[in-house]
């Protein structure tokens, strides 16, 4: 009896320690996750079944994204690549505009859209607005053939990451405006891939949470893309005195630890 209590007590201590040292909860700076999440975590560490259920749930989320971004081969076969691209954009709750047309085709919140876009056969897309949609790297396969794409808006897309930006080289001659603000998964390494977009004239990279040194990255991007106008708002670029002192201290500590490490190895 007392042994059971002792082991339960030890288990509680262990799980508490694990929770304290566990993951920071995605991008929010809350100190500890809500109660039901903590309970789920505790159960996951005790029972295989709970772990399996949680893993199925996360896999279901991934499968949903993959299904949305599947290759629309049937539509391509029956209606051609441009209609397939248009249908793909509308299915992901985006909007687009054809070359030579002035009105946009949008999907509303309930997922309904105007089927008149089928009337324009073999007209490439000129402007595409995919803000807050689930577009991902594999979904870009549907848009790859659009050689007259001039504007692409990816504001707030959760699945757009560095690999997606690297694949945008397929639009290197035509793309003039790109909006990647508020995308949580973009980091500095992906922005380096924008080198290939020779025709880019306007780039909006505001409020990217994945950037660690936004000020420096903006300057380097401006040097890399001299003909492009870069809009970067939503960053704290202030050079306050405390900030500079803190950074100097960290820099010195980093140097000392580097030197001592190298001495230890050699």
């Amino acid at each position: 009896m007392s042994a059971h209590l002792m082991s339960l007590h030890r288990c509680c201590q262990r799980s508490a320690r694990l929770l304290v040292a566990g993951r920071p909860w995605s991008s929010s700076s809350v100190s500890s996750p809500p109660l039901h999440t903590r309970l789920l975590l505790f159960l996951t560490q005790r029972f295989y079944d709970v772990e399996m259920l949680l893993r199925w749930r996360s896999q279901q989320g991934q499968r949903r994204v993959q299904k949305k971004n599947a290759y629309y081969s049937y539509t391509q076969h029956f209606h051609g690549a441009d209609i397939a691209a248009a249908f793909y954009v509308l299915s992901l709750k985006g909007g687009f505009r054809y070359v030579g047309q002035s009105d946009w085709f949008h999907t509303d919140k309930r997922g309904q859209f105007n089927w008149n876009f089928l009337n324009h056969k073999d007209t490439p897309l000129e402007e595409v607005d995919m803000s807050c949609s689930l577009i991902s790297y594999s979904g870009l396969e549907n848009l790859v053939g659009q050689q007259s794409l001039r504007t692409l808006s990816l504001q707030g897309c959760p699945e757009v990451d560095d690999w997606f930006l690297a694949r945008l080289h397929v639009f290197q001659d035509s793309l003039e405006e790109l909006d990647i603000s508020h995308c949580p998964r973009i980091t500095t390494g992906g922005l380096a891939a924008l080198r290939n977009l020779k025709g880019l004239r306007r780039l909006d990279m505001s409020s990217l949470p994945g950037l660690s040194n936004p000020g420096l990255v903006i300057i380097l991007l401006e040097e890399m893309l001299p003909q492009c106008q870069i809009i970067a708002s939503g960053y704290d670029l202030s050079l306050s005195q405390e900030g500079i002192e803190e950074r100097n201290e960290q820099h010195e500590q980093g140097h000392e630890s580097d030197k001592s490490e190298k001495q230890a190895i050699y």
Partner: protein, 451 residues
């Protein structure tokens, strides 16, 4: 009798018999008396000592009670917890990225959960001389063999979806810090035709590569001096560099969450059984089968023989040494047993330098036809450079000393010729490093840059 018990107490640190614990209490009690005799003049410190001792004794008594309960891990026989298990199905020798990747994929492919017991042995947990952590961390598809191109494309796919493969429930997502800047190969007159052939092979295999003429090259990268360059090959997608240490830790974390046992030790010997068989020509053949490997603990004479079915040699630059221990190649010449492992370690230098006016964010991993390469490191104007030495002047792989003269004579002139901004640079001596690279004697494949 009492003196024997006191000696016993000195030998055992934590685990001990009930009687020896009583002796420790008596020991501290005896010690507690001495300060009492010495410091009668001060009043309060004596009482603090007494209460601290009492607390320590209560804690010791609680620990003793917990150990005595069933379900505790106390045992009268002292077992070193760092020893590898006595029996394992597969022993992987080498804890670099290749070893842990093998462990992960073995566990991924097992049909029944927990069916395969995999042990990974790494002799140096600080990875001070491991090729994985000292490498430049680049990945490219610009090879001449289609097999290499397909392997590299599959690796890029893996890294793109790394969180689907190596994500552990409830841990942080993996950030490889992948820089998608591509590789840029420069060719002179005599090798331009090879580059064109390679370009068509790469395109056929599905790599996204583009060929650039000198004018296009100058337009794209104005900081390059296109003297002597006839053709350039630039990777548009799936090429760049990343942090190999993060990848290693991601593999390790996922493999350990799937039940792979990690152990720190070195393989020094092995036991095998021999079966004698007759070939169709009538010659007798000795078929040797490994029964167990002897794993030596670091800085200790302790060892553990691990019975295993399969031993995987993933020791990187030290794999030929392991093969010699396993007596691969010890048979007669001109027989199968006489073929030794054709892998040897080669030393390569990597220099970090700082140049304030150097090329910016778009710097690709540039490889010149003279063999010199460089890439950007971080955002502070630092670059990493190195070169493959000629066949005759290979440095001695016995130690990891860095040769500064190699930089001054072989690398800097070529670098300054290709990029004029690098005439003024400052080598960061404290971050020089040399690494041992696995060199495949048959095909000169540089495994350092292929992950």
């Amino acid at each position: 009798m009492l003196t024997w018990r006191r000696l016993h107490v000195k030998a055992s640190a934590v685990h001990g018999l009930l009687t020896s614990r009583l002796v420790t209490e008596q020991h501290t009690w005896v010690h507690g008396h001495l300060p009492l005799c010495q410091s009668l003049s001060t009043g309060t410190p004596v009482r603090n000592d007494f209460f601290k001792d009492l607390e320590a004794q209560f804690a010791a008594a609680r620990q003793k009670a917990a150990d005595a309960m069933p379900g505790s891990s106390w045992s009268p026989i002292e077992i070193n917890p760092n020893l590898p298990p006595e029996r394992a199905d597969i022993v992987i020798v080498g804890g670099g990225v290749v070893g842990w990747s093998i462990a992960y994929w073995l566990k991924q492919k097992e049909r029944v959960r927990g069916a395969l017991k995999v042990v990974v042995l790494e002799k140096d947990p600080t990875y001070a001389q491991a090729s994985t952590v000292l490498s430049a961390g680049g990945i490219r598809q610009q090879f001449s063999l289609p097999e290499n191109i397909h392997l590299s494309l599959a690796s890029a796919d893996f890294m793109r979806n790394i969180n689907d493969y190596l994500g552990v429930l409830d841990e942080e997502p993996i950030d490889l810090q992948f820089n998608h800047s591509g590789y840029l190969f420069l060719a002179s007159e005599d090798v331009a035709h090879i580059m064109e052939e390679n370009y068509s092979t790469q395109r056929d295999a599905g790599a996204k590569v583009s060929l650039l003429s000198p004018t296009q090259l100058k337009e794209k990268f104005p900081w390059i001096n296109t003297d002597g360059v006839v053709l350039a090959s630039y990777g548009l997608e799936n090429e760049g560099w990343f942090d190999p240490w993060t990848l290693l830790n991601a593999f390790r974390r996922k493999a350990m969450s799937m039940g792979v046992v990690q152990c720190c030790g070195e393989v020094t010997d092995f036991k095998y059984s021999v079966n004698r068989a007759m070939t169709t020509e009538g010659k007798s053949l000795d078929i040797r089968r490994i029964k167990s490997v002897k794993v030596q603990m670091p800085n200790s004479l302790e060892y553990q023989p691990v019975e295993c079915a399969i031993v995987v040699n993933a020791a990187g630059a030290f794999s030929s040494k392991l093969a010699q221990i396993l007596r691969v190649g010890s048979g007669a010449k001109n027989t199968f047993e006489g073929i030794s492992l054709p892998v040897e370690p080669r030393k390569r230098f990597v220099y970090v330098f700082h140049c304030p006016d150097g090329p910016g964010l778009d710097t690709p991993f540039l490889v010149d036809y003279s063999g010199v390469y460089f890439r950007r490191e971080g955002l502070g104007g630092n670059y990493i450079t190195g070169a493959s030495p000629e066949e005759e002047k290979e440095p001695d792989p016995g130690n990891l000393e860095v040769d500064h003269e190699f930089f001054m004579e072989k690398i800097w002139p070529n670098l300054a010729h290709r990029i004029p901004a690098f005439e003024k640079l400052k080598v960061r001596v404290e971050t020089l490093s040399s690494s041992l690279v696995v060199f495949n004697l048959s095909g000169a494949a540089d495994l350092k840059t292929k992950v």
